[in-house]
């Protein structure tokens, strides 16, 4: 009895477009094709993008900030870029906090032991004051390490890659 090993109707849409892209890319002396894929998936209903330009400012407890708070950080942040520093929540004393390693704030939540502190100046005693725990708006927030801190946290990239061939 013969076994059907193959039968198909292969339709190849995006791949043919890709083929053209590769051909074009490889025609240059240093082939490095830029690939455009057909019909990227629009999942705007799925995951919230990290772009938070339109959102109300919130503090790290997720609460919407009161007007007084906004006044506070408008005073504090006149620059385009603010440095976020990780501090220990329970160390608060007269609006100053004990500074800890930024890694402690990886995955920080509203009830976590650590939180981000925006702006301010550190003292020799390893404490920071003069800033705020309220997340500022319309400024770029970075850590001392240079990572950008978005609404959903610090997004770092270039953690994969920079290799040569992968196939086998």
């Amino acid at each position: 009895m013969r076994r059907a090993l193959s039968s198909r109707s292969v339709s190849l849409g995006a791949l043919v477009a890709l083929s053209s892209a590769v051909l074009t890319g490889c025609a240059s002396p240093e082939p490095s094709p830029t690939i455009e894929y057909a019909a990227p998936y629009d999942d705007s209903a799925e995951d919230e993008p990290v772009d938070d330009a339109e959102e109300e400012p919130v503090d790290d407890a997720g609460e919407t900030l009161e007007e007084d708070d906004e006044d506070d950080f408008e005073e504090v942040f006149e620059e385009d870029e603010v440095v976020a520093t990780c501090v220990e929540r329970d160390s608060e004393d007269d609006d100053s906090y004990e500074v800890v390693d930024d890694e402690n704030c990886d995955g920080v939540g509203k009830h976590g032991a650590y939180l981000w502190y925006y702006g301010g100046t550190t003292t020799n005693g390893g404490r920071i004051s003069g800033g705020t725990t309220a997340r500022p708006r319309d400024v770029s927030i970075v850590t001392e390490g240079g990572d950008e801190l978005t609404r959903s946290g610090k997004i770092s990239t270039n953690g994969f890659g920079n290799r040569t061939s992968t196939g086998s």
Binding site: L12, V22, L23, C26, P31, S32, E46, F160, T166
Partner: protein
Amino acid sequence: MRREHATPREGWEKIIEGQGLAFHRSVQATHLPRPYWDESVHYVFTMEQVLDLEAQVEELHRMCLAVVEHVIAERRFADFALPEWTWQEITHSWERRDPHVYGRFDLRYDGVSPPKLLEYNADTPTSLLESSVVQWYWLQDRFPGDDQWNSIHERLIDRWRELVLPTGPTHFAWTNMDETGEEAMTVAYLQETADQAGLKTVAIAMEDIGWDPLNRRFVDTGGRVLRSAFKLYPWEWMLADRFGEHAVRHAASTTWIEPLWKALLSNKALLALLWELYPGHPNLLPAYLDGPRELTSYIVKPLLGREGASMQIVSPDHQARTEGSYGAEGFVYQGFEALPSFEGQRPVLGAWMVADESAGLGIRETAGLITDDTSSFVPHRIEL
């Protein structure tokens, strides 16, 4: 099994490019005497041969899964030079049966004696489109009355359809360091099979994957969470990368395809473990991790190597060595049997697995004893 000649189709370059195989030009080095896709020759099999091969390939796959089970039960991870911090998560990945999609066995086969396993490309195999699509259309054009060992395309679609993946799109990641376009092509093809299965898909470069530590998850450039991701990027490289630890420790937040447990199959220590568990099996060549032992003809292969690089043949009749910088993790010593010669060319059979079933065949030929990135792909048919 025999090698036959046929006149290439007129305008074959345009034909295969129209089917997506574009990189054949970029890998066509000027010093090579033949094109990467070479339809001036092909191999002919009987149906009986192919059915036998299918059965043996599926048995090899089951044996490989038994090795994974054994390695995890006996904690043999060190034989694979895997860092200790990955062991527990590899175990979890296996215990969860994290879903797998495809792989390719490379076999030595002469049409007479049993096929011998050379290696299992279980993590990032390429030459997929050639096997699945391009040689299929060649068959329709040239030998429409014959058959081909090839249900790769349908099986891939079926596999994507049956997988239970997290909600949200599935990302398809390649590395943008690939200059030939081969890897982007392979990823795009797999993405297309997933699209045809009804999945929502998004393409991304590995280099563009971001880590969101607040929520402990990977995100793409649009801020979308990577809940499931196919990657044409080997696990051993991921583990060595800065994000490797995130990928391993937070495996529950991203379903990676191929899964972490496949790091045990794409590593050539597999060959030694197979021989240890199945000594004398007709589809295996003897293989050891601690040296050649009793072997007088053997090939030294790096545990983690690609495209035939960093290999050395030690034999009374043959001496050969390929360049490369692999081998830091160690080597496996595998019994050497020269690839059979058909009119001076030596084929390696690439037998495709989709999920746990045999799915098709792709053949690469080279004049040398080691199949490397200068080999040519040649089609095949089953004579009816």
